[in-house]
């Protein structure tokens, strides 16, 4: 495994302070754009479904991007660590919007249907569980929580690998057949989890050997 020669260095994409705020706003553009289209009947004949899937897809993309930060650093030495929190939070915001559109626009707040969905349908139970697990991660994605929780913060945030597995299966089930899109995203998410497991196991073996 390559040595972490540049691990300590943080690189910035933009020169000014508050760049993560700017990047966060950019990250929210796909949602804003589609919301504007949908509100003006420009998302085609089935707009709620299109919007719901679009938000879910971007939640997956940002989750994957957040999970890629560490492997990228280890493999190439490029550290995007300072953007990881932002990527994780974007994944959460998209997941929140995805769930909100499902509840409010798609099912129009029909509690009977919603209750049945999350108690009877594995497809929706997995997706909902993934969202629920993201909540504590989002709530503790700040400097204060990191200081306050100390080592426990790291353990808590291992939950993201559980989220990745749940999301991978939920995403596969969202289509009537297996297809290039669903399989490649699910494989990428699973790959990140496997990478983490292998990384931890090797670290343990190294420690035991020294």
């Amino acid at each position: 495994m390559p040595r972490l020669t540049k691990a300590g260095r943080t690189r910035t994409l933009l020169p000014w302070r508050g760049e993560t705020m700017v990047l966060m706003a950019v990250g929210l553009l796909p949602a804003a754009l589609y919301f504007w289209y949908g509100a003006h009947d420009r998302l085609g004949p089935d707009p709620v479904n299109v919007f719901e899937r679009w938000l879910g897809l971007w939640a997956v993309r940002f989750l994957l991007a957040a999970l890629l930060v560490t492997p990228l650093r280890v493999v190439s030495g490029i550290s995007l660590l300072r953007y990881r929190r932002m990527l994780g939070l974007l994944a959460f915001w998209y997941a929140l919007m995805h769930v909100s559109v499902y509840v409010a626009l798609d099912q129009q707040g029909n509690l009977a249907v919603l209750w049945r969905d999350i108690t009877h349908r594995p497809f929706l139970m997995l997706g909902f569980a993934a969202f629920v697990l993201l909540v504590p991660l989002a709530l503790t994605s700040n400097d204060w929580s990191i200081r306050k929780l100390g080592r426990r913060w790291g353990r808590l945030h291992q939950l993201v690998y559980g989220v990745a597995v749940l999301v991978a299966v939920h995403f596969l089930l969202a289509f009537k057949t297996y297809n290039a899109t669903s399989v490649s995203y699910a494989a990428a998410l699973t790959g990140m989890v496997l990478w983490r497991v292998i990384f931890l196991v090797r670290a343990r073996i190294r420690r035991a050997g020294s």
Binding site: D46, P47, P122, L124, T177, A180
Partner: protein
């Protein structure tokens, strides 16, 4: 598309008709691809003529029909039908066609015939969704009906919509329309109709029997494993706030005509 000689038929739905643009650009037709827009954008190579449709199996008079001879032989009717997709969306479509029963009557099913098996076309060179790949179904697409369902006056062989011949993406040149069943029963681009004794295999049922039954009657009380079928999104209702969701009706609202076909049959078990 060419104009068809058609006249208004019975069973006209009272709901607002879905716009032609939506009927022809929001389609499930896996032979052309997985996305709703694939059929309209990727069906340009498909040649629906010349075309033959064979009626065979347990019939007294098997025959291979030329599609235009068939259209000339059958008086065409416009039928404004509700269409409910298993994915919980719906349209209202003005089909042009003739009852399947009229064609079957010419063939004279034998007493031993109990089911009708339908087979679609296989042309990978013209249908990019048939070139294999992960998302591919087993081709040809096959469907089936019980003989009494096939003989029901609501069951239509459509050769057009909105008064013109069927666009490729809607199943040119001839497709099945069974308005009290989920849309996937409406097999497109049919080449073969076979009268048989045993229940024939059907494509989606073979793919995933837990989600797609042989009967596939629209039923708000029998959920799809992944979503409720109690209501449906109305296609083309207009934007997020067009209020485009409505209750799904038993047999898609055709219960008065077809409930008798099923008697005391357990519709949760035979979904």
């Amino acid at each position: 598309a060419e104009a068809l000689h058609t006249r208004p038929g019975p069973f006209q739905a009272a709901e607002k008709t879905t716009a032609l643009q939506d009927v022809t650009h929001y389609n499930n037709f896996y032979e052309f691809g997985l996305d709703k827009t694939d059929p309209s954008t990727r069906s340009g190579q498909f040649r629906p003529r010349p075309w033959t449709l064979s009626v065979e199996g347990l019939v007294a008079h098997p025959r291979v029909w030329d599609i235009d001879a068939l259209i000339a032989a059958m008086p065409l009717e416009e039928r404004l039908y509700r269409m409910r997709c298993v994915e919980a969306w719906s349209m209202v479509i003005p089909w042009d066609g003739f009852p399947l029963a009229s064609l079957l009557a010419l063939a004279e099913p034998l007493g031993s015939a109990r089911y009708v098996a339908f087979e679609s076309v296989v042309r990978p060179a013209e249908m990019p969704g048939q070139t294999g790949g992960l998302d591919s179904l087993a081709w040809p697409y096959v469907e089936g009906l019980r003989l009494d369902e096939a003989m029901h006056p609501l069951t239509l062989l459509a050769v057009g919509l909105y008064g013109e011949t069927l666009p490729n993406q809607n199943g040119a040149p001839v497709r099945l329309v069974v308005p009290w069943k989920y849309g996937f029963k409406g097999i497109k681009s049919i080449t073969r109709i076979r009268l048989v004794e045993k229940m024939p295999p059907t494509t989606w049922n073979q793919m995933n029997p837990a989600e797609y039954g042989f009967f596939a009657n629209v039923n708000p009380d029998v959920d799809h494993p992944r979503w409720s079928q109690a209501s449906e999104r109305v296609i083309g209702a207009g934007g997020f706030f067009g209020g485009g969701r409505k209750k799904t009706l038993m047999f898609n609202g055709y219960g008065a005509q077809v409930a008798g076909l099923y008697g005391t049959m357990n519709l949760s078990r035979f979904y």
